[in-house]
Structure formats: structure tokens, C-alpha cells
Symmetry: C2
Subunit: 191 residues, 2 copies
Amino acid sequence: MSRWEPDARGRLAQAAMELYRERGYEQTTVAQIAERAGVTERTFFRYFADKREVLFDGGQALEQRMVAAVDAAAPSASPLDAVAAALAAAAESFAEIPRDFPRRRREVIAAHPALQERELIKLARLSAALGEALRGRGVPEPAASLTAETGVAVFRVGFERWATGPTDRDLAAVLEESLAELRALTAVSRA
Amino acid sequence: MSRWEPDARGRLAQAAMELYRERGYEQTTVAQIAERAGVTERTFFRYFADKREVLFDGGQALEQRMVAAVDAAAPSASPLDAVAAALAAAAESFAEIPRDFPRRRREVIAAHPALQERELIKLARLSAALGEALRGRGVPEPAASLTAETGVAVFRVGFERWATGPTDRDLAAVLEESLAELRALTAVSRA
């Protein structure tokens, strides 16, 4: 098995996450992150606007992959199945980075309301992007928005379970389970 | 039919909304809001911390009513049916205020990213509160969180449709429709 070999960007992200945990997010400076990663501050700023952006760096790529998965779903796929493909693509993205990275990131964000706000904004944008992709497939409103919101809800809840659960669980499996659970919960069977 | 007779708080909220529309949110001052409402600035600050809070004033009461509806749902009600009761309670809340108020509020918020962030935070809190209420009914995780998130998704999408749609539509009906649509979208029928 090949070990994950981070480039400068990856080393900076890893160094930042270590320092956020060791010293706290507020107390960590860009200079310290650069030093730990063995690069100059100038190199840091080539990749990230500030220390906050280290935490949100992967968001855009994740969104693009999820949207691409919706676009690539079979024309016959239902809106929810297209979103299921997006969730599988998200799990693939996470499988490419060290598992402790999203877990630590989650801890840092959970401890800082301002970071939680940013996370909420990113998730709202993700939902909007998935909704647009679904409309691009011909899904009408409100089905497109409802399915996109539901997909993001499954992602949030599933990710939280995965990040706080046993370390040997696969994100893809947890997201699939969460989606299956949602289907069961919404199955028409009124009391 | 009795006309809605606002008290000082209601007059302030109405005055604020008018001014936000006429002059823009940034350009409006607390002094102007108080003047338009026919009260002193001191009275304004008895009800609201600042001009932003006028927009988010009803959020806590709304959350309490929705949580109370989950608590009051029949023991035999499914998690989603309990959330459906919360949506009905939300619609009742909105029926008690002039219809143009939430519509204008939505316009002001949509035009200001900082207000959108605050709205997202409020909705995330609403989801957490509904999740807790469901767990209080014995609903396990992840079902409680998934149902709560789904309920908030239906609320967001339904509210948006209602606020941007024909003025004679009933919010309760639009929310019910959105929930029915969600049930149909998640009905197990994989491609």
C-alpha cells in the first residue's frame, strides 16, 4: 500500500490541522503553519488566502465532483438516484485524503461558531449547485430543490456519523446507509 | 374580518421592513425606524438589540412552536408525521402576521449575504432543536437527525415557493404539498 505523499499544499494542510489541535485555531499563526510544513510564508499564501481557508480548501473541488456525478448519472436515473451518485462521488473524494484530516477538521469547526457559519454557507452553496444540476437534467421545481436539500441533509448526517464513529467504517457505506434510512423514514405510511 | 392591529413591537417591525425596502437595509437607522413607528429609540431598544434583530425576532417563537408540535404528536405518529405537525404549526405562526411581512423579510435577507448567514444559522438551530425533540420521543439516531434535517429542507423549499408564488396561496397547503413531493421523490424505486 502506498503511503499518502503530500505536496506542499497537502503538507501545509496537515501542519495547520496539527497546530489547530495542539495550540488552538486562534493561537496558530500562518508563520507557524509554514514552519511546520517546511515552507516559507510566501508559499503558504500561494495556496491559501488565510488560515481559515486551509479548512475550506477542498470544498469547491468536492462540489464540482458531486455536480459532475449528477450530470453523469444515467438519463433514466431518478433525481434521488442522481444525488446518490453525488454522495458516492463525495465519499470517493474523502477516500483520497488521510482519514484523520476530515475528523480533525470537524473538531476545529465544531469549536468555533464563525467556522460553523462558513461551513453552513458552503453547504447551502452545495445544495444550490446540486439543485441547478438537477434542473439541468430536466427535474422541475420544487423536486430539484427538495432532492438537493435532502442530499445535503444525508451528507451532513452521514458525515457526522462517520467522523464521530469507529475509524474503520467506510464513508461510502455510511452515506448509503443514511440514504436508505431516509427512504425508509419517508416511506408513505401515515399514522 | 378584524384588521391586524400591531402593538409597538409589531409597528416597529413593520416600519423597519418598509424602510429596508424604501432606503435599503444599510441606509436605514434605528432612529428612522422608531420615528416611522411613532415611538422613541429607547422603545426600539426595549424590543430589539439592533436593526438586524428585527428581521430575526420571530425565529425563537417559531422554533418553540414547532418543537411543541413534535412533543405533542401522538405517540404512534412516525418521526416524519411528528415533523409534519411541526410544519403545520409553523404555517399557523405565519398566518398570524401580515402576509407581506415574511415576503419582504425574505427580499431583504436575499440581498445581504451577512443576513443570509444568520438565517442559515437559525435554520441549523431549528434542525438541532427538532432533532432533540424527536430523540425525546425515543427516535434513535440517525433517524432523528435525518428527519429533522428533512423537515427543515421541506420548510425552506416550501417557504421559498410560498413567498415567491401567488399571494393567495396558503403556506400550510404549500408545505403539505412539498412534504408529499418529498415522500414521492424518496419512494424506493431505484433506476
